[in-house]
Amino acid sequence: MREISYLEAVREAMTQEMERDPRVFLIGEDIGEYGGAFQVSYGMLEEFGHERILDTPITELGLTGAATGAALIGMRPIAEIMFMDFTTLASEQLVNQAAKLRYMFGGQSTVPMVLRTPAGSGTGAAEHHSQSFENWFVHVPGLKVAMPSTPYDAKGLLISSIRDNNPVVFIEHKLLYKTKGEVPEEPYEIPLGQADIKREGKDLTIIATAIMVKKSQEAAEQLAQEGIDVEIVDPRTLRPLDTETIVNSVKKTGKVLIVHEAVKTGGFGGELAGVIAESEAFGYLEAPILRLAGREVPIPYNRNLERAAVPQVEDIIEKARQLATLKV
C-alpha cells in the first residue's frame, strides 16, 4: 500500500472531510499561506480559500471559542492550537464551554468540533513549546481525546473525530510528523475508544501513547532478542478509553509497564494504573504496575537535557527488563 507521512495523513483527513462536508472548516494561527507552523495545512488555502481556512491573529482563547460557537450552530470546525503549551490560553473555552454546553443546556445542542494541537519535546524548542497536557483534557467529561501514533491511526482517528458530534482534542506528536506508514487513499474511520495492539507478546504488556509507541516497538525488538516477549497496547483514544483491551492484555501477560512522555506525576499513566489496579486484571498481576514517563522538570533547551527529560528506547528496555524479572 501507499506510504505517506503522519503529517500528510492528517492533512489528507482534513482535506477529504472538507471536500465531503461543506460545514467543515479550519481556524488557527498561520494555517493559510504559512501552512501552519509544522506545514500541516500547507496547500489547503489554495484548494479551499479564505472562507474555509481562517487565519487568525494570536488569539488562542478567541479562536477556540470561535470554533466552539460555530459548532454550536451546526458547523464542524477544526481549530489548530500551534503548540499544546498554548492550550493553557484556550482551556476556558475548551473546558468550560465546548465540553459543557451540551450537558448544561440539557442536551439541546451539540458541539461537533476538533481541536488539533501538536505536543511533545525533541525539537529543542524548550520550556514553552514542548509540553504534553493530554491528561488535563482526559479529566474533562464532555471532551474526547485522541492521540495517534502512526500515519494510519492519524488519518482514521481524525476522520472519526471530525465526524463525531462532540468536541475532540486531537493530539499530534511533533516528532511523528515525518514518520511514514501505509495509509489507504480513501477515507476511513477508526472508532474513538478502540485501542490497538501494536505488537503481540506474552511476557509483559507495555501500554504506550503517541511517540512512546514507536519507541516501545524499538525496545521490544531488542527485548525479543533477550527472550522477553512484549505486548504493546496503544490506547489511541484516551477518552473514552478501551479498558477491555487493556485489561485483557494485562490478564494475559500478568505484567504491565506504562510509558508516556508527559510528566509522570498527575499524568495519564496514573489513570491507566488506576484502571488496571481496580479491574479484574488486578488478580492476575505478577508484579507491581510500573510507570515510565516524563521527569519532574519543565522541558529544557539543551539537547542532552531535553533527551534525558523524557523516556528513551534504552530507558524502556531497562525498565521492561527490570519488570520481566520482578515477582510479587
Partner: protein, 320 residues
C-alpha cells in the same frame, strides 16, 4: 423607527414579565425553594427588551450570567424557564443548568453563561457560522461592563472585525462588575471608544430608554444583515439588586441606588407611551397585571413539576 401600539404593548409586557420573574425568583430563593445563587437584572429591563425587539424570530442571541431578562425578551416559555430556575426535570435544561445557564436553542437563545466574557468568543464563531450558512441571520451578543475588561473581549472584537461577522455586541453597563465600579476605569463612552479602535461602529446609549436602545441596536442589526459586519452598543444602566445573593452592597451607597431607581426603565417607557398615546395608564396596569399573573402561573407550574431522576445524571454529556 416608529413604534406601533402592538409593539409598545408587547415591550411593556415583556419588561413587566422580567421584573415579575425576578421578583418571584427572589421570593422563591428567600423562601428556601431554590438552591444556589442568581443574578437579577431588575432595573435593566429596557436594555434586554429594547435590544432584542430588533430581531426576527429566526435570529439568535447569546447571553450572560444575568440573563433572565434576555431570555424572556427572546420569547422563552415562562413555564419552562421558571421550571429550569427551580431545577426541575421539564425545565429548559432538564434542571442541569439553572438560573445561570438557561438556553432555548430552538427559540434562538444560545444560552446564558457562568463565565464572565465566556459568550464573547462563542459569538464570533456563531457569526462565522451564520456567514457560512448564508441565511442572513444575525446574532446579538450580550455582556457586562465587567466582561469588557477580560482578554476574551479584546480577542473577540479583533476576530469579529477581521471576519466581519453579523453580530451586534451589546454591553449592558450596569456600572459595576460585582463590587468593581466601572467608573474607576471604564465608562460606557470608554467601552465604545475601544470598539471604535477595533473598527466597530460603536454607540453608547441611555440604556434605561427602550427607544434609544432599540434604535441603536437596530442600526447594528441592519448593518450586520446587510453584510456590513459587527458593531457595538453600550447600554448605560443599573442593577437595583445586589450582584448576587452573597452581596452586601458595601461598595455603593443607598443614595446612588435610589437615584437610579428614579430612572426606572419601565416607568420611563410608560411615560413615553402615554405621551405618544400608545398605551393608557389603564392599559398599562392591565399589562402589568397580566405579566405578574403569567409569572404566578409559571411559579405554580415550576413548583408542581417533577425533580429530575438521579438515574439520568449521566445523560447528555455526550451526543450520539
Amino acid at each position: 423607527m416608529t413604534l406601533t401600539k402592538e409593539n409598545a404593548e408587547k415591550y411593556l409586557l415583556q419588561m413587566y414579565q422580567i421584573r415579575a420573574f425576578e421578583e418571584q425568583a427572589e421570593k422563591s430563593y428567600m423562601a428556601g425553594k431554590i438552591h444556589g445563587t442568581m443574578h437579577l437584572s431588575i432595573g435593566q429591563e429596557a436594555s434586554a427588551v429594547g435590544s432584542i425587539s430588533t430581531l426576527e424570530p429566526t435570529d439568535y442571541i447569546i447571553g450572560h450570567h444575568r440573563g433572565h431578562g434576555l431570555t424572556i425578551a427572546k420569547g422563552a416559555d415562562l413555564n419552562l424557564m421558571m421550571a429550569e430556575f427551580y431545577g426541575k426535570a421539564n425545565g429548559y435544561c432538564r434542571g442541569r443548568g439553572g438560573s445561570m445557564h438557561i438556553a432555548d436553542i430552538k427559540g434562538g437563545n444560545l444560552g446564558a453563561n457562568g463565565v464572565v466574557g465566556g459568550g464573547l468568543p462563542l459569538a464570533v464563531g456563531i457569526g462565522i457560522g451564520l456567514k457560512m450558512e448564508a441565511e442572513n441571520r444575525v446574532l446579538l451578543c450580550f455582556f457586562g461592563d465587567g466582561a469588557a475588561s477580560t482578554g476574551a473581549f479584546h480577542e473577540s472584537m479583533i476576530l469579529a472585525e477581521l471576519y466581519q461577522v453579523p453580530v451586534v455586541f451589546v454591553c449592558e453597563n450596569n456600572q459595576y462588575a460585582m463590587s468593581f465600579a466601572s467608573r474607576d476605569w471604564t465608562t460606557s463612552k470608554k467601552i465604545a471608544a475601544h470598539g471604535e479602535v477595533y473598527g466597530l461602529t460603536s454607540t453608547a446609549t441611555d440604556g434605561n430608554n427602550l427607544i434609544e436602545v432599540r434604535d441603536a441596536v437596530q442600526m447594528g442589526v441592519d448593518r450586520a444583515r446587510g453584510g456590513g459586519g459587527p458593531s457595538l452598543v453600550v447600554n448605560d444602566t443599573y442593577r437595583w439588586r445586589g450582584h448576587s445573593k452573597s452581596d452586601r452592597n458595601r461598595y455603593r451607597t443607598n443614595e446612588e441606588i435610589e437615584a437610579w431607581k428614579k430612572k426606572d426603565p419601565i416607568l420611563k417607557f410608560r411615560k413615553y407611551c402615554k405621551t405618544e398615546k400608545l398605551i393608557t395608564d389603564e392599559k398599562a396596569e392591565e399589562i402589568k397585571k397580566k405579566a405578574y399573573a403569567d409569572i404566578e402561573s409559571a411559579r405554580v407550574f415550576a413548583e408542581s413539576s417533577p425533580e429530575p431522576d438521579v438515574q439520568t445524571l449521566e445523560e447528555g454529556v455526550y451526543a450520539p
